[in-house]
């Protein structure tokens, strides 16, 4: 009934889900844009602003960065495995992506716990406020991605037998979202931790 779910539109060249997920990512660009705008305004308006490396754990965050970058590779490898019709490799790579994402969140949890133990809260000053808000919202996006990927690893993967093209399209869409989350971190990490 509804066309261009699995096969691309002859003129636009994309499927509905691909166009849809890119529209969604465009809105996410604006969401983080609003938050980065807040960061800039607060920083410019502040009398003094600490360096990220003075207050935050750079080695831990570097490891987290490598986690996310690796998970981006495993995510695209999961999609490539589907293109090669290898469902077993797909499951392996998808599982790796999920585990790396969970790893990221666990490290974040340790970071936050350490901050709270040192009595550093969003209410302490605006550096911590924007740090917690930016990384917190990003973390929620990571969690959302982990949940979506888990769905595609287990219950959702039944679609592979019924309509492999549609399933591949869905995994590609989930992958685009996951790469975007990685992209945001690629900017968040230097802005908060290294400057």
């Amino acid at each position: 009934m509804i066309r261009y779910i699995s096969k691309p539109h002859p003129i636009t060249g994309v499927t509905n889900s691909k166009l849809g997920v890119w529209c969604f990512l465009a809105s996410e660009v604006m969401l983080f844009g609003g938050l980065f705008s807040a960061f800039l305004m607060l920083r410019i308006g502040a009398d003094s602003w600490p360096h990220g490396w003075e207050l935050l754990n750079v080695p831990l965050a570097t490891m987290n960065t490598l986690f996310l970058i690796t998970s981006s590779v495993t995510m695209v490898m999961a999609w490539a495995s589907l293109a090669l019709k290898d469902i077993k490799k797909y499951r392996l790579y998808m599982a790796a992506t999920i585990l790396l994402g969970i790893g990221f969140l666990i490290v974040k949890g340790f970071e936050y716990a350490h901050k709270f133990e040192g009595h550093h809260f969003p209410s302490t000053n605006n550096f911590y406020a924007i740090y917690f808000t930016l990384t917190g919202l990003h973390g929620l996006h990571v969690l959302g991605g982990v949940l979506v990927n888990t769905y595609f690893l287990f219950p959702g993967s039944g679609l592979w037998k019924k309509d492999p093209d549609q399933f591949m399209g869905r995994v590609e869409a989930a992958g685009l979202y996951w790469h975007f989350v990685d992209l945001v971190w690629i900017f968040l990490f230097p802005v908060l931790y290294l400057l």
Partner: protein, 596 residues
């Protein structure tokens, strides 16, 4: 996808291809059919419009007769904390004001214009079986519903609803009672609803157009919804960001919007400070300015459809309309700080936004002018939808023209935050957009239900509404020029306001009469569902695709995917037997002279 169309109580019973298997709650409550979802949006939107209107009618009592107890209703509320002895408390007045604006804009007009009309009409007008993402569509309605419930619930919690204006400026909104937190969470749901909806509209319009339906053969209604969806998609997220930041301020004690050294009621506040209230204003208005174009664009789309059909001639300047609406949409993102001329941005920034604001009036005027010129030489049918569409033109004109001194920084200094502003924006939204929405209801009611609404009740509704709505908003320009501020609880507190107080009485009486004038509409709407005159599939003899399917359309809309052969407004084509050519009529049929 041929099937029976059941008629139960005159409503569209979507014929699912397995209709016998779908239980009631999946066919009518958690439906994925764009027509059911559109009706859900429309009815919910209309109810919220009525509720928001009632809030205003309460406010108008305080403004006309300040400090006097409200008759009749006041007796019921006399024991309540908000209107002790039937006299409104200032805090309650502020709640009414903030929630009137919020409810009308976010829960009334946009859900009706975009969620209601857009959802129902757009897939039909482009020849699609449904929206691209039916499940997402359903989710977007329920997010809206939940957001609406949270907003209404906020009236009943300690401290009451949000009371810092629909604009929620900090620091006031940061220290406001719990209702503000409800507002923020409610907005989060409404924003997400909007986001899901806009993705659906964009993908559907791009991907699911019928064969032969190129972009420049689209009805202008579809163009207006398409551009609107981009505004919603890209302008809402910064407000989401701002809502997150304000929630952090209120719940986690951060100081994103709290300046240093703030003193409230003689005591210093516990916030660390260093924040910027102006940051909120930038992020809020980045959404709220495009939002007003979200309010007007679907209305222009509806007016275009109703007018072309009721003048029996093509719209004048279709291409100019399309290019204008695209240009307007783009410009709408870079004018927002004309709401902030008085915030010390500096003359360069003020100049920049003044210039872009003046430029954006150009496409608006082009659109209004082409619509007016479309009347020239037409065979005008003064149907009820046409009356509302015709009234839209001068009303929107007044609204637009009165915006000019607000868009120029020098004159805005005197007019900012006065009743002049209230007059200006209400002219655009109330006798502007809402009249267009009424036109849409009367116009598409036969397609949704297979019955026409009563013409007599419709004409009574129109004429009384038209007279009283002007009575409500025209005097506000005078009040604003006299210097009366908006959001004033006590209208006679200041000497300069006392001289124009009689206008407040006049406005309030017109407002209550305007409320009474909606009763024929409400009666008409519900009784016509059951007892309205039954009509065929195309009672208005219109050309666009939605009129080629049964009323109400079955699930899947079209028995076969339609093919389009011409533009959307082929009325009165010379040499044709009838005075209209449907878009899907093959070339060379019915004595048709072919036009591109």
């Amino acid at each position: 996808m041929a099937g029976r169309t059941g008629r139960r109580k005159g409503f569209a019973v979507s014929d699912q291809h397995h209709s016998n298997e779908l239980p009631f709650w999946r066919q009518y409550i958690f439906s994925q059919d764009h027509k059911v979802i559109g009706m859900q949006y429309a009815v919910t939107g209309l109810l919220f419009l009525l509720f928001g209107f009632c809030l205003m009618m309460l406010m108008r009592w305080q403004l006309a007769y300040p400090g006097k107890p409200l008759p009749f209703l006041g007796n019921f509320l006399a024991e309540s904390p908000v209107m002790p002895g039937g006299i409104m408390l200032p805090e309650f007045y502020n709640q009414l004001g903030a929630m009137h604006g919020t409810i009308m804009v976010f829960m009334g007009v946009v859900p009706l214009a975009v969620g209601g009309f857009g959802n129902f009409v757009l897939p039909l007008q482009i020849g699609a079986p449904d929206m691209a993402f039916p499940k997402l569509n359903m989710m977007s309605y329920w997010f809206y519903f939940i957001g609406g419930v949270i907003m209404i619930a906020s009236f009943f919690i300690p401290g009451g609803a949000a009371q810092s204006g629909w604009t929620s400026y900090p620091p006031l909104s940061n220290i406001a009672p719990l209702g503000q937190t409800f507002w923020l969470i409610g907005m989060a749901f409404l924003i997400n609803s909007s986001l899901l909806g806009s993705i659906n509209f964009i993908v559907t319009t791009v991907q699911l157009r019928a064969e032969g339906l190129s972009f420049f053969r689209l009805p202008f209604f579809v163009w207006s919804q398409f551009v609107t969806s981009f505004l919603l998609l890209l302008a809402f997220p910064p407000l989401m960001a701002a809502a997150v930041l304000q929630l952090m301020d209120r719940l986690a004690g951060s100081s994103f919007f709290m300046p240093s050294g703030l003193v409230v009621n003689g005591a210093t506040t516990p916030w660390a400070g260093g924040g910027s209230p102006i940051l909120w204003q930038h992020l809020f208005w980045f959404l709220a300015h495009p939002e007003v174009y979200v309010l007007i664009l679907p209305a222009m789309g509806i007016v275009a459809e109703v007018m072309s059909c009721n003048t029996r001639k093509p719209l004048y300047g279709y291409k100019a309309l399309v290019y204008s609406v695209i240009f307007l949409g783009f410009l709408s993102f870079i004018v927002w700080a004309h709401h902030m001329f008085l915030t010390s941005m500096g003359t360069q920034m003020n100049s920049f936004f003044q210039i872009t604001t003046m430029i954006i009036s150009i496409p608006s005027v082009v659109i209004l002018t082409t619509l007016i010129l479309s009347l020239w030489g037409g065979s005008i049918r003064f149907t009820v939808p046409m009356l509302f569409a015709l009234a839209f033109l001068p009303m929107f004109g007044i609204g637009g023209l009165t915006g000019l001194p607000l868009g120029l920084a020098a004159s805005d200094i005197h007019l900012h935050d006065t009743y002049y502003v209230i007059g200006h924006f209400h002219y655009v939204v109330a006798p502007g957009t809402i009249f267009a929405l009424f036109a849409g209801v009367y116009h598409w009611f036969p397609k949704v239900t297979g019955r026409k609404m009563s013409d007599i009740l419709g004409k009574i509704h129109f004429w009384f509404s038209f007279v009283f709505i002007n009575g409500v908003f025209m005097p506000m320009f005078i009040m604003g020029l006299a210097g009366v501020s908006r959001r004033l609880y006590d209208p006679v507190q200041y000497a300069h306001a006392q001289s124009v107080q009689p206008l407040n009485v006049f406005i309030s009486i017109c407002a209550w009469c305007l409320g009474l004038a909606q009763i024929p509409f409400i009666i008409n709407f519900f009784s016509s569902i059951f007892f309205g005159k039954k009509v065929d599939d195309n009672p208005w003899e219109a050309t666009t695709l939605e009129w080629t399917v049964p009323s109400p359309p079955p699930h899947g809309n079209f028995a076969k995917p339609p093919v389009v052969y011409r533009g959307p407004y082929e009325y009165s084509v010379p040499g044709c037997a009838k005075d209209f050519l449907p878009q899907n009529l093959p070339a060379g049929q019915a004595g048709a002279a072919e036009v591109k």
